[in-house]
Each structure stands twice: as structure tokens, then as C-alpha cells.
């Protein structure tokens, strides 16, 4: 494997020290969340301070290790709080968003990649420009359409439809790029053997594009799983909250349930963090190629 030797003669000691500092800064907030989550309390302080704290007390309050280990925050956030329900909402919304979004994106990307038709360039441009529409401009009209027109306020279906359509442009650009790399000869051969266009799409092109489809799907899933503003706007009823809205509910406004928040954050983050670590090399190439999506 080719590798640069720019720092070949550098002693590794200082480099490790530097990395150790970076790792400490990076990991501290994560450890902080863990110590709050396992503290069994709702306070956001790691340790309670006496009225006149000494330096030792203060140091204790900084070290990310709970005074008393307890999993009660995890058990009660799942049983006493409606958090399990919020997770279910999030999971259903994310899964169906992925299915619907990928289906819509695959068919459209295939058409954009393979067919020449009037409106093709305009369509691709419109998709690209739509990525720059500010969310705040869309929120009120979307609210009117989804809640007042379709009556889908506080409903998972409404959220699924919105997420799936707003994820289309990015997915289409990503998939089209991949479809373009699949040689046309395969399809031409199939045409000669008398396969229909639908059959070619489903049984030749899609299987070949499996990696790109998988990435797009996982990406849609993560977006839906992490989305906060739209969900907070559409989901009025407490039992229809998604996990992000619920977590904000624990510590937003006058609510200060940091223990629940920390435990919930860990539960919510684990699947996406794992997915992300698995996906990251695809994400980099996809994102830098995909234009100005935020």
C-alpha cells in the first residue's frame, strides 16, 4: 500500500501526546453522558458539591464517573416514560421512509440515467436547486398541506411522506451517478433476448446497483432517525413524538430530566453510530460528489 513518509523521522511520542489530547476532548462529552446516564439521578452534575467545595470536590465533579453506579435511568426511561413508544415511532417512521424514499429514488434515478426525454435536464436541475430551499420557508406550507389539507398531523404517515419526498433529490443524484457506471451493454443484451424494460430494471440493474442502493437506504434511514425540526412541528401529541422530539422534551424548557435524556441518548445513538462507522467511507465520497446538501 502506498503511504506517505512525510513524518517518517518524527518521534512518535509527541504525536501520541497530541492525539491523546484530541481523544480526551473528543471523548469527554461522550463519557459525561455515560456517567449521567449510569448515575441513577436526574441531575446534570456528575457529583454533588458541598456548600464550600474544596479543589478535591471540584475535581470529583469533573471526573466522568458517577458517584454510584445504577441502571435505573435506563430501566425507568423505557418503562415509566413513554420512551419505548417514541423509539417505536422513530423506528417505524425511519423504516418506511427508507422503503418509500428508496423506491421513489431508484425509479427516478434509473429514468434520469437511461432514458433521453424532454425535461430530463430541467428535472435534474430542479432537484439540485430544491436542495437549497430553506427549511423555514417550507415549514409553514408543509404544515398547511400535511396537517390541514391531508389531516395527517401527529401521524407517522405524514412524517414518512415528507421525509421520503425531501430525501428524493439527494438519493436520485447519488443513485444516478452509480447507474451511469453500469454498462449499457448488459441491458442491450437483455433487450435482444426479449426482456421487458421493467424486468431489466428489477432483475438486472437493481441487483448490480445493490451497493449504491444500500448506501442510499442507510442514509435515508439515518436522516429520518435523526430529524428534529419537522418532527417537532408536526407531532403535537406526546404519544406520537419521535425519539429526537422526546429527548428534547426531557431537557427543553423547564424540564431538567438529564438522567432520562442521557440514557435515552445512548439508546438512540448506538444504532446510528454503528451504522455510521460502517458507512463513513461511502459517505465521504457521496457527500463531496453530491453538491450542496446540508
Amino acid at each position: 500500500m502506498p503511504r506517505s513518509r512525510i513524518s517518517e523521522e518524527f518521534p512518535h511520542g509527541p504525536l501520541h501526546a497530541m492525539l491523546a489530547v484530541a481523544v480526551l476532548v473528543t471523548i469527554y462529552p461522550v463519557l459525561w453522558v455515560f456517567s449521567i446516564a449510569f448515575s441513577g439521578k436526574q441531575s446534570l452534575a456528575i457529583a454533588d458539591l458541598p456548600p464550600t467545595p474544596t479543589a478535591g470536590d471540584r475535581l470529583r465533579a469533573v471526573v466522568p464517573w458517577p458517584e454510584k453506579l445504577s441502571v435505573s435511568n435506563f430501566t425507568s426511561v423505557m418503562s415509566d416514560q413513554p420512551f419505548a413508544r417514541w423509539m417505536l415511532n422513530s423506528a417505524l417512521v425511519a423504516i418506511f421512509t427508507t422503503l418509500l424514499g428508496v423506491f421513489l429514488a431508484c425509479t427516478a434515478a434509473y429514468a434520469f440515467s437511461r432514458f433521453k426525454f424532454p425535461g430530463r435536464r430541467v428535472g435534474m436541475m430542479a432537484f439540485l436547486v430544491s436542495q437549497m430551499f430553506p427549511g423555514t420557508l417550507m415549514l409553514i406550507p408543509l404544515y398547511i398541506i400535511i396537517v390541514q389539507l391531508f389531516g395527517l398531523g401527529s401521524s407517522r404517515i405524514g412524517l414518512i411522506i415528507v421525509y421520503a419526498t425531501t430525501s428524493i433529490p439527494f438519493s436520485v443524484w447519488m443513485l444516478k451517478g452509480y447507474f451511469d457506471t453500469i454498462p449499457k451493454e448488459l441491458e442491450e443484451a437483455a433487450v435482444i433476448e426479449g426482456a421487458s424494460a421493467g424486468k431489466i430494471f428489477w432483475s438486472i440493474v437493481l441487483p448490480l446497483a445493490k451497493p449504491a442502493v444500500a448506501i442510499t437506504a442507510l442514509f435515508s434511514f439515518m436522516t429520518a432517525w435523526n430529524e428534529f425540526i419537522l418532527a417537532a412541528t408536526f407531532m403535537d401529541k406526546e404519544n406520537m413524538y419521535t425519539a429526537p422530539v422526546g429527548l428534547r422534551f426531557f431537557v427543553g424548557g423547564f424540564s431538567q430530566q438529564w438522567g432520562y435524556f442521557a440514557a435515552g441518548s445512548i439508546i438512540v445513538s448506538i444504532p446510528v453510530v454503528l451504522l455510521f462507522l460502517y458507512l463513513q467511507k461511502y459517505l465521504v465520497s457521496g457527500l463531496t460528489a453530491g453538491g450542496v446538501k446540508g
Binding site: 512525510i6 462529552p29 409553514i140 428534547r248 441518548s265 465521504v284 446540508g294
Partner: protein, 645 residues
């Protein structure tokens, strides 16, 4: 087109389609308008009845046996409202009732039961509405509630004593007559006549395109305008009848209450029965004279307004029908149809996605941009766009206000709601974040790229964690860590003997919290991008450089930096957009504190819409943001194309 000209047939189809569309639209709008007039008349009659009863109850003192017998006497002569109830909020007491259910042990007077809470709530709402309107000196909340209850109407209005709301009077009307559907004869005539006439003309004119076009337009336009004119005059007549009905109800109720009052020995006639005809805010409509007969001038005005509105709508419908006619007649549909047929498969594949995008992306965008030309806010959401149209005033207010430093008493201060302040802040925010991200990411990537460095994969996974975590969680974590009393960061500061900082009290420190949060979550992206680029540099290059005797610095400048460029430029471009739009961090960490000084453009727009409820202004604000992004995107496109070429 090589095919033989078939202008006559095509125009005949066009005329038919145009006539059908026009006639259907017209009929729809007209029956809507007519139903509105009918509903309004019913509602006005019911309100008159309610107001008459209220005035009677108030004359009877508002409570006690006098009220009960007055209501009973009124009820016996008022078949149009088969039940009435008087509720007093002070004792949570049903004071009088003629409802069939309220007999026997439920007969008034009695305390309200638990299951009758809706009545209590209604009284609270109305009292609050009257209070609000009085305080704001502005009719904003309805003081008379009209709610459909099946085919009936249930109305409630305030019961006042010495100017204070002490309860409500509630009536329920008899089932309302169903509105008569409009006749079909005019509709059919408007449909068939133009087709028949055009058929005849086409036969005479032959295959000549322009004369056929003119004939088609004239036929359809004439028939639609005839139908529209008939509808408008029909509506005027209906309004006349409705006004007379209301006037009759007023006279009737005046008699009923007079008789009921004198039987109880109360002061007889009501002062001005004509003033019973009020709107939801108890403001007189003024369509009747004080003694309760139709005011012909005001009625003519009202008729005129309705007619003008209807005419405008009908003109729009007619224009739509003519547009369809022209499209079909001139063959545009043929063209589109041919293209659709030829590329059937392609359109089939993109149809679902396009449909979704049109309904949920492009339409909302257009709607939002339209909203930006209006004064839409919390108080006028029900009004039509044309009523609240203010043209470019929002844009002028946003872009034309350069005075972001204001002079007041006590020196000058920054107006944090000013667009240019927020823009400046957003630019500072974006530049500093991207700078931090690139610097940290690049340094870490260079370090991690060291050959044979122990533990390298572990470092890499840990350092990438902030990017993997959902950013709203990151934001809330940092918000907690910056807490003034319990936050870890202040503990560290105090550990070194400094006083705790209240981070969100000053713009600069508040900005630092958001910067720290965003810096933490954004450096891994740059790190990963740079690392990828570094690893793809062939080792031979450095080998060759060393052979030529280049120093490490020279190698870095001549090899490393140029190889990083193609990866870093797009990464910077995209992270500028991300940071510019980083809603979650600002919204959740600083929340704009203190006093909106740390808002970026997107959070400011959100606050204008959802906390200050200025929808039109917020829409204009967002459109400006879109403009900025569009300009940025275009420049970026140019630049990247230029660098590629």
C-alpha cells in the same frame, strides 16, 4: 405535421373541453357562493334569536325566577329555537333551561354536572374572548360561538351584568333546511349551446385555422359570460330574500320578547331590535335599520361586494377554460401527448418521484414565496391572499433597514433583529467554524497519517465519533455542559480558581459555546476527507523529492498541499453550506440568547415564523436566504467547473 389538417375536429374537441371545464367550474363556484349566502342567512337569523333572548334575560335581571319564567314565555313563542339555556359562571349554575333533558330532578336551577363541563368551558372561552377584545380594543376573538351540531346550530353568547360577563346564554336551532341545489338547465345550456353553435360555424368556415380559432373562443366566452351573468343576478336576488328573512326574524323576535317581558312586568320593548343583527364579535352588521327593516343602501353595497368577488372568481374560471381551449385547439396538447407517448416509459419511472416532489417540495416552495409578498400573521390566517397582499414591503423592510446600530438613551446598542446583524453573525459563524474544522481536521489527519503509528485505528474510530452522533444530541449535551451552576465546564474553570461564567448572558461567550459545540462535531469530517487524500498520495513522490534533496517543509508545500486541494475544496464548499444552515446547534445550544444576538439566518427566520408569528415576514426572510444560497451555489458551480477544465 404530415397528417391531413383536422382543424375542425380538433377545435370542436377544444370547444367541448373548454365548455365542460368552464361550466363545471362556474357551477361549482356559484353553488359555493349560494350556499354561503344561505348559511349566512341562517346564522344571522339564529344570532338575532340569541341576541333577542339575551336582551330579555338581561332585562329580567340575569338570575332568579324572573329569568326562568321569561325564558319559558319566550320559548313558547319561538319554535325556531327549540331549546335555550342560561348559565351563570359565578355559581357554576344552570340558571334556566328549556331543554327537554333538563326536566324532573335535572330541572334548572341547579349546579352544573361533571359531564356538562363543555358548557362551562364554553362560558370560560367566551368570557375570556370578551375580556381580550376589550383589552386589545380590537375584535379578534369571537364573542358569539356558532357551532354546527348535526343539522342544527348551537349558539352561545355572553350574558352581561353591569358590563361584566357573568355567564352565557345558549340556544340550539331547529334543524336547518337543506340548501336547494342549483338547477341544471342553465348548466346544460352553457354546455351544449357553444358546441352546437361552433359545430354549425365550423361547417360554414371550413378548414381555416384562424377563423376557427376566433369562432371557438367567441362561442365559449359568450356562453360562459351568459351563464356567469345569470348566476350573479340570481345570487343578488337570493341575498335580497335572505335580508328580508333576517328582518322578518327581527320583527318576530321583537314581538315575542315584548310580549314575554310585559307578561313578567318587565320593561317592555327592546330599544333597537335592528342591532340584534351582529357578527361573531357582536359588532352590528348594519344591514338593518335600528327598527329592524332592511337598509336598502347597505344591502345594495353588500350585494355589490359579493357580486364583484364572484365575478372575479368566475373570470378566473373562464380564463382557465379558454386557456384549455387554446392549448387543445392550437395543438399544444397534441405535442405534449406525443412526447408523453413516445417516452412513456421514462415518464412512468419518474412520475411517482415527480408527483411527490411537486406536492411536497415545489408547491410548498411556491406557496412560501407567495406568502412572502403578504402580511400573513397569526391574526389573519383565514383571509385570502389577495386581501393581505403587500407586494415587496417585507423585502424592503428586511433589506432596506441598514440601521443595525441604534442610538437610544444610554448610548448606542445593536438591534439584534436587524437582518444585516444576523447576516454578519452568520458569516462570522460560518467562517470561524470552517476555519476551526479545516485546521483541526488537517492537523489530526497529518498526525494520523504517520507510518507505523501504534493504535492508529483506535484513534481514528474515537476521533470520528462526534460526526457519527446525532447532532441534536451533541447540542443538548453541550448545552448541559455549559450550564452555569452544574455544568462541567464551569467546574473546570472554578477548579483553577476562576469564577463561574454565565455563558448565555453575553453575546461573545454565548457564541463561544455554539462554536465549541460545532467545532467538536465538525472536525472529523475534514479529518476523514484529508486523511483519504493523504493516503492516496503515492510514496514515490516523497522518495523522489528526498533524492532531490528537498526539505520536509518543501515536500509539504510541493507535494502534500497540492494533493490535498482536490479533496479539500469540495469539502470546504459543502461544509460552508452545512454550517450556514446549522439550525440544530444554534437553536438548541444558545437559542439565540442573549436577546437574539446569536441567531443565524435560518434560526432567525424560524423564530419570526414560530415565535413572533409573522408568517409573511418570515417567508420573505427565508426567500432571501434561498437567494443567498442560490448565488453561492452558482458561484461554486462556476468555480468547480473552472478548476476541472
Amino acid at each position: 405535421m404530415p397528417a391531413a389538417p383536422a382543424h375542425r375536429l380538433r377545435f370542436l374537441i377544444a370547444v367541448a373541453l373548454g365548455a365542460v371545464l368552464g361550466a363545471f367550474l362556474l357551477r361549482g363556484f356559484v353553488s359555493d357562493a349560494s350556499r354561503q349566502v344561505a348559511d349566512e342567512a341562517q346564522e344571522r337569523q339564529a344570532v338575532v334569536t340569541l341576541q333577542a333572548l339575551t336582551s330579555l334575560v338581561q332585562r329580567a335581571g340575569g338570575e332568579g325566577d324572573a329569568v326562568r319564567s321569561a325564558v319559558a314565555a319566550w320559548q313558547s313563542r319561538t319554535p325556531s329555537a327549540p331549546q335555550a339555556r342560561v348559565f351563570r359562571a359565578d355559581g357554576i349554575r344552570l340558571e334556566a333551561s328549556t331543554a327537554p333533558d333538563d326536566a324532573g330532578d335535572r330541572a334548572a336551577p341547579r349546579r352544573l354536572r361533571r359531564e356538562e363541563k363543555p358548557l362551562y368551558d364554553r362560558s370560560q372561552r367566551i368570557a375570556a374572548a370578551v375580556q381580550t377584545n376589550r383589552e386589545e380594543q380590537h375584535a379578534r376573538k369571537p364573542e358569539i360561538e356558532v357551532a354546527p351540531a348535526g343539522a342544527r346550530l348551537s349558539l352561545a353568547g355572553p350574558l352581561e351584568k353591569n358590563g361584566a360577563v357573568v355567564g352565557i346564554v345558549e340556544i340550539e336551532t331547529a334543524p336547518l333546511p337543506l340548501p336547494k341545489p342549483a338547477g341544471w338547465s342553465g348548466f346544460l345550456l352553457a354546455l351544449i349551446a357553444p358546441i352546437a353553435v361552433f359545430g354549425g360555424l365550423a361547417f360554414l368556415l371550413g378548414e381555416k385555422r384562424l377563423p376557427l380559432l376566433a369562432a371557438a373562443v367567441v362561442c365559449v366566452a359568450a356562453s360562459l359570460s351568459w351563464m356567469g351573468r345569470a348566476a350573479v343576478s340570481e345570487l343578488a336576488a337570493q341575498q335580497q330574500r335572505a335580508a328580508e328573512q333576517v328582518a322578518e326574524r327581527v320583527r318576530d323576535q321583537a314581538t315575542v320578547t315584548r310580549v314575554a317581558a310585559t307578561a313578567q312586568g318587565l320593561p317592555g320593548a327592546a330599544a333597537a331590535p335592528g342591532s340584534w343583527d351582529v357578527d361573531d364579535f357582536r359588532q352590528p352588521l348594519g344591514l338593518l335599520t335600528p327598527d329592524g327593516s332592511v337598509n336598502p343602501q347597505r344591502l345594495a353595497q353588500a350585494v355589490d361586494t359579493t357580486a364583484r368577488e364572484l365575478r372575479r372568481t368566475l373570470l378566473g374560471a373562464g380564463a382557465l377554460a379558454l386557456a384549455l381551449l387554446l392549448l387543445v385547439g392550437l395543438g399544444a396538447f397534441n405535442l405534449v401527448g406525443r412526447s408523453l407517448r413516445r417516452h412513456r416509459q421514462a415518464y412512468l419511472y419518474i412520475a411517482p418521484a415527480i408527483l411527490g416532489m411537486v406536492v411536497l417540495v415545489f408547491f410548498p416552495f411556491t406557496y412560501g414565496v407567495t406568502l412572502s409578498f403578504t402580511d400573513s400573521n397569526l391574526y389573519n390566517t383565514g383571509k385570502a391572499i389577495s386581501d393581505i397582499w403587500i407586494g415587496l414591503r417585507n423585502y424592503a423592510d428586511i433589506l432596506g433597514d441598514f440601521a443595525f446600530i441604534k442610538r437610544g438613551d444610554g448610548g448606542s446598542f445593536v438591534n439584534y433583529l436587524n437582518f444585516y446583524w444576523t447576516l454578519l453573525f452568520t458569516i462570522i459563524w460560518t467562517v470561524s467554524n470552517v476555519a476551526i474544522g479545516v485546521t483541526c481536521g488537517l492537523i489530526l489527519a497529518l498526525v494520523l497519517n504517520t507510518r507505523a503509528l501504534a493504535l492508529r485505528p483506535i484513534y481514528r474510530v474515537i476521533l470520528i465519533l462526534p460526526w457519527a452522533m446525532p447532532n441534536y444530541i451533541t447540542a443538548l449535551i453541550w448545552k448541559g455542559m455549559f450550564h452555569q451552576q452544574f455544568g462541567v465546564i464551569n467546574q473546570v474553570i472554578q477548579l483553577f480558581g476562576f469564577p463561574a461564567v454565565s455563558w448565555f448572558d453575553r453575546p461573545a461567550s454565548s457564541f463561544l459555546t455554539a462554536l465549541a459545540t460545532n467545532g467538536w462535531l465538525s472536525f472529523p469530517f475534514m479529518m476523514v476527507v484529508s486523511l483519504g487524500a493523504l493516503q492516496s498520495i503515492p510514496a514515490d513522490l516523497y522518495e523522489a523529492a528526498r533524492v532531490d534533496g528537498a526539505s520536509r517543509l518543501q515536500q509539504f508545500k510541493a507535494i502534500t498541499l497540492p494533493s490535498l486541494r482536490p479533496a479539500l475544496v469540495p469539502a470546504v464548499i459543502i461544509s460552508v453550506v452545512w454550517t450556514f444552515n446549522m439550525f440544530n446547534i444554534i437553536y438548541l445550544v444558545t437559542g439565540g440568547e442573549p436577546g437574539s444576538s446569536t441567531e443565524i439566518l435560518v434560526t432567525q427566520a424560524y423564530k419570526f415564523a414560530f415565535e413572533r408569528y409573522r408568517y409573511g415576514y418570515a417567508a420573505a426572510y427565508s426567500t432571501v436566504i434561498f437567494g443567498i444560497l442560490l448565488v453561492y451555489g452558482t458561484i461554486q458551480n462556476r468555480v468547480s467547473r473552472a478548476t476541472e477544465a
